[in-house]
Each structure stands twice: as structure tokens, then as C-alpha cells.
Amino acid sequence: MQALQTFAEHYNYVITIFLMVTGLYIVVARGNMVKKLIGLSIFQTSVYLLYIAPGKIVGGTAPILDPAFTVYANPLPHVLILTAIVVGVATLALGLALVVRINECYGTIEEDEIFAKDDEQ
């Protein structure tokens, strides 16, 4: 019962960790280079959740200076994660551009086939 309660109280972390491990698993287990990048994106997205969730306070408002509001949510993680999202988008774009070039040079984006082609040389 105690374990179940802890689990329910921290359900946001459970989701975060699930996404994290899912993303990392795809990166490791898939040979398709686009799928790997999508896995990487899911992995990065889980971190956004890790930051955003603790910033939320139930019943809190936006951080407005007004005597009527005393409880407010921390705006800092949102700002940080905006930056992290930009970094994530840039990484994904660069990765996909690389995959396009790889496809032009090798005619495939499957890792094992690419290694086989390089070994032939």
C-alpha cells in the first residue's frame, strides 16, 4: 500500500523515466538511422518533462506581482526547457540532414548494410 502511494505521488517521474528508457532503448536497439534519431528525440523530450513537472505547484498561479496571489509556479524551468527544445530541434535537424547525405552516398540508411558496404572496400 505504501509502495503504491509513493508510486501514485510521483507518477510524473514514472512517466519521465518510462519515456527516457523507451527513447534510449530505441537508440540502442534499432538499426534504422531515422528511427534511432526519433528514439533520441523521445529521450530528450523526457528530460523536458523532468524539468517542467517540479515547477508546477497545484493551485499556483503565473508569477504575477499582486497581493491577491501568494502561491505561484516557478517560471524558470519553462525558460530553460525552451532553450533545451531549441537545442533538441537543432540536433534532430542536423541528424536528419546527415541521414539524407548518408542515403545519397550509400543508398541505404540501415546501419548493418552500411557497415557491410564499408567492409567490402
Binding site: 528530460v47 523532468l50 533545451a84 540536433t91 548518408i102 550509400y106
Partner: protein, 497 residues
């Protein structure tokens, strides 16, 4: 002049950033080269002024945008990162003249300006990591340098450069994301991102909730170790160095991993050591174990490489093992050895990769069996290679000896005499892989591939000779390397003893 002086910390990063943006607008490779050269030569002046200020008057704190720390981003310069800033910007300045002909040969005409743009962006990121006092800001700079590095590597002629770049992108992004997870966990328990502020709050937070702090330590260690290519997380490095253009390899080998090491030392000694009783955790033992593995196994693999760029890449993994060994030993001499080896290895590896780049410029070959007799054809280049090679081995009279001496003394003080044997074994293995090249290059008949080779033009030769001379100079006069490294180590260790 007096109006500029207080803003030097910001200029250190802003100058290359503006340079990168300008280079992006340029069409001609030569114009972009001149711009990159001007920026690269301005940076050591800024770094030198910062180092001088820090040595004279203690740490500098710069408020970016006027926001007071810990709320705003703080640029904090102390002896340690002033040393790293000086190292990165000096290496950039010395190797820059080498770039023009090397890049003109290896990069398509239409892409040269972009290449210089990416180089300056990479420089921005590296200097930014070294100068910032904010954990999240360091992540942003980490990614700026990493993304531009992927482009630099992918600019290689061989199609395998694309694969190398892609693999580095995957590994590098995992590393950077681990770093952010670690920073996030610290932020959750301390509510701060400013490194100095975190240090002040972490001890209390760790006493209440040790688990997230230990998890953060683990994530940060793995994340940064991926970036600095600590064995066994080095798998991206050999291919990246082997297939990147010569200039990119030289620059990255000399600076990129060094800045990641800086970040690791900063996190360990400035942030975690004072807060967490790390004696309870086997962090040091783990780092020492992996360092030994790197020093022995990577050196051993280097012996069997026929591609010399790849051989030097494995040698880099081994040399990073020396640097992390000092972190694991964690006493005054050991840490001095680590920090001084940052500089010494940068100088020596830049010489070796540039000499190899010059050989490639003249012959188009980097495979060992194509290069027999190259020493007689390119005597000055290969003499520099031999000098820097002796440095890697650790011969007395070269810079490499100084680093190994400090590491060995540190190991003895820590009661770890077997570590001295490991250092000597690794040096012997280095003797084998460097000696093999010397034998083929100097004592064999010239192969047809290098029949017409001669020493490269002065713009390439002078940077090689300057750094080869520095290898000897820093082996004799250690005032500017080991002297400052010793001060930095004392400052870092002052945090927890």
C-alpha cells in the same frame, strides 16, 4: 581601453560568436579565413589579460546583462579556467595559419566559408563552457560546440566521415542529455543553477536527500565522460578523428576533449567534493580503474593501426586516461599532473596531427606502409613529429615527462605504487607505436607515394615547428604550465580539505 577591460569575460565568447555569424555571410573561403585568423589571434590577448588579472587579483565575477548572481548568468574566471581559456585560445591562434592550405585542399571551394563559420562556432562553445559559472549555460555551450563539431567532422572527403559524424551525434547527444538530467536533479534539490551557489546549498540538500544528489553525480559523470571519451565511452572518437579534415582533427584533438575534462574537474572538485563525502562512494576507484584501462588497452590498440590518424586517435584515448588518472588520485600532485597534461597533451597532439596533415597535403596518404622514407623527404615536418612523439612517450626533456612525473609523484603520495608501473607500461606501449612510425618514416627506402614529397609551405610548417618547440620548452621551463596548474590544483583541492 578602460571601458573594455571590465567586459573581457563577455568578449571572450562574444568575439568568436560574432565572427562565426559574419563568416556565415561570406562567400569566399579566403575572406572567411582572414576573419577567422583575426578572431583567433585576438582571443589569446583577451584570455591572457584575464589570466593576468586573475593571477594578480583573484577570481573575476562577471554579471551577464547586469543580473545579479545567482539569479542571472555569472561568468566566473579563476586560475583554473583562465588557464583553460588561455590553452584553447592559444592553440586556436597557433594552428590557424595551418588551416588555409589544408582546408583549401580538403574542402570544396563553395563550402570553405561555412567550414570557418563552424570552426568559430565550435571555438565559441568551448570557450563558453570554460568561462561560464552557470550549469545550464554550460549545457547550451556544450551543444553549440558539439553541433558545430558534427558538421566539421562530416566535412571530411571520405563518405565514412558522415557515419563517424552520425555516430558522434548519437553518442554526443546522449552525453549532453545525461548532463542535463544531472543538472535537473541538482536544480530540483538545491533550486539553483549557479555553480558557486549550488556548492553552498548542496551539502545541506545532500544531508536531507542524498539519493537525488548521488544520482545527479552519476548522470553528470557518465554524460561528461562521453564527451571527453573516457574509456569505454570512447567509441565515437577514433572514427571521428580519422575521417574529419586534417585541420578539424587537429583542433578537436587539442581542445574539445580538454574542455570536457575541465567540466568534469569543475563539477567534481568545485561542486560535489565540498558537499558530498565522496569517500563513501567508489568514485575515485572507478575513475582510476577506467583510466588504467584506457592507458593500457587504447595504447595497445594503437599499436595495430595502419591508418596513422586512427593510431593517434587511440593514443588520444590513452592520454585522456592519464588526465583522468590524476582526477582519480585527487591529491595536489596528481591533480597538477592532470591539469598540466591538459596543456601538454594539447600541444603535442596538435603537433602530431598537423605534421600528419602536412604529410597528407604533400602525398595524399596517411597509411603507414605508404609513408616509408617520408622522413628524408619532409625532414622538418617529420622531425617535429618525432619530437612530439617523444613527448607522448614521456621522454625527459619534453612536456610529456613533466605531466607523467607529477602523476607518478601523486600516485606515490596516495600510496598507489602499482599506478607508477601502469604509467611506465603505457609509456612503453607508446614507445612501440611511435617508434614504429619513426622506423618506417626515417629508416626505409622512400616509397613511390612520397617520391615527390617535400616540406610543406611556410604557413603550414611554422605552426608545426612552433608547437614542436613548445613541446621541448614546456619540458624545461614549467613556470607557465605546471606553475599555474599547481595553483589551480591547490585552489580546487582547497574546497574539501
Amino acid at each position: 581601453m578602460t571601458a573594455v577591460l571590465p567586459h573581457l569575460p563577455a568578449l571572450q565568447v562574444v568575439v568568436p560568436l560574432l565572427g562565426a555569424i559574419l563568416a556565415g555571410f561570406l562567400r569566399r573561403g579566403t575572406t572567411a579565413f582572414v576573419l577567422a585568423l583575426a578572431v583567433s589571434w585576438a582571443l589569446p590577448l583577451i584570455a591572457g589579460a584575464l589570466l593576468w588579472q586573475v593571477l594578480a587579483g583573484g577570481p573575476i565575477s562577471y554579471r551577464l546583462g547586469g543580473w545579479e548572481p545567482p539569479y542571472g548568468i555569472e561568468y566566473r574566471v579563476d586560475v583554473f579556467n583562465a588557464f583553460v581559456l588561455m590553452l584553447v585560445s592559444s592553440i586556436g591562434a597557433v594552428i590557424m595559419p595551418f588551416a588555409r592550405r589544408s582546408v583549401a585542399l580538403e574542402i570544396d571551394r563553395g563550402r570553405q566559408a561555412w567550414f570557418y563559420c563552424m570552426y568559430l562556432l565550435c571555438l565559441t562553445g568551448l570557450l563558453g563552457i570554460a568561462i561560464t559559472g552557470d550549469a545550464f549555460n554550460a549545457f547550451v555551450f556544450l551543444e553549440i560546440s558539439a553541433l558545430s563539431t558534427y558538421v566539421l567532422i562530416a566535412a571530411g572527403r571520405d563518405r565514412r566521415a558522415l557515419i563517424a559524424s552520425y555516430q558522434y551525434l548519437i553518442m554526443g547527444t546522449i552525453g549532453a542529455t545525461f548532463y542535463v538530467i544531472g543538472v535537473g536533479l541538482i536544480w530540483v534539490v538545491t533550486g539553483s543553477l549557479n555553480l558557486v551557489d549550488i556548492t553552498a546549498r548542496l551539502a545541506e540538500a545532500a544531508a536531507v536527500q542524498p539519493r537525488p544528489v548521488i544520482a545527479a553525480l552519476a548522470f553528470l559523470t557518465v554524460g561528461v565522460s562521453l564527451k571527453l571519451a573516457l574509456f569505454p565511452l570512447h567509441s565515437w572518437l577514433p572514427n571521428a578523428y580519422a575521417f574529419a579534415p586534417s585541420f578539424a582533427t587537429t583542433f578537436l584533438a587539442a581542445t574539445a576533449t580538454k574542455v570536457a575534462v575541465y567540466l568534469l574537474i569543475r563539477l567534481y572538485f568545485s561542486v560535489f567534493w565540498p558537499a558530498l563525502r565522496l569517500q563513501d562512494l567508489p568514485v575515485n576507484a572507478l575513475i582510476i580503474g577506467l583510466s588504467i584501462a584506457a592507458m593500457i588497452i587504447a595504447s595497445f590498440i594503437a599499436i595495430f593501426q595502419t591508418d596513422l590518424k586512427r593510431m593517434l586517435a587511440y593514443s588520444s584515448v590513452a592520454q585522456i586516461g592519464y588526465i583522468t588518472l590524476g582526477i582519480g588520485i585527487a591529491n595536489q600532485d596528481g591533480l597538477t599532473g592532470s591539469i598540466v597534461h591538459l596543456a601538454n597533451h594539447a600541444v603535442m597532439k596538435a603537433t602530431l596531427f598537423m605534421a600528419l596533415g602536412a604529410v597528407f597535403y604533400r602525398t595524399g596518404a596517411v597509411r603507414l606502409h605508404d609513408l616509408s622514407g617520408i622522413g628524408q623527404k619532409m625532414p622538418l615536418t617529420m622531425t617535429a613529429f618525432v619530437i612530439a612523439g617523444f613527448g607522448i612517450i614521456g621522454t625527459p626533456g619534453t612536456a610529456g615527462f613533466i605531466s607523467k612525473w607529477y602523476l607518478a609523484v601523486g600516485a606515490l603520495h596516495a600510496g598507489g605504487w602499482p599506478l607508477v608501473l601502469v604509467i611506465m607500461t603505457s609509456s612503453l606501449l607508446a614507445l612501440v607505436y611511435i617508434g614504429r612510425v619513426i622506423e618506417v618514416a626515417w629508416f626505409r627506402e622512400a616509397s613511390p607515394v612520397c617520391a615527390d614529397a617535400r616540406d610543406p609551405p611556410l604557413s603550414m610548417l611554422i605552426p608545426i615547428l612552433v608547437l614542436a618547440a613548445a613541446t621541448i620548452w614546456f619540458g624545461i621551463d614549467t613556470q607557465w604550465t605546471a606553475g599555474i596548474a599547481g595553483k589551480a590544483a591547490a585552489m580546487l583541492l582547497g574546497g574539501f580539505t
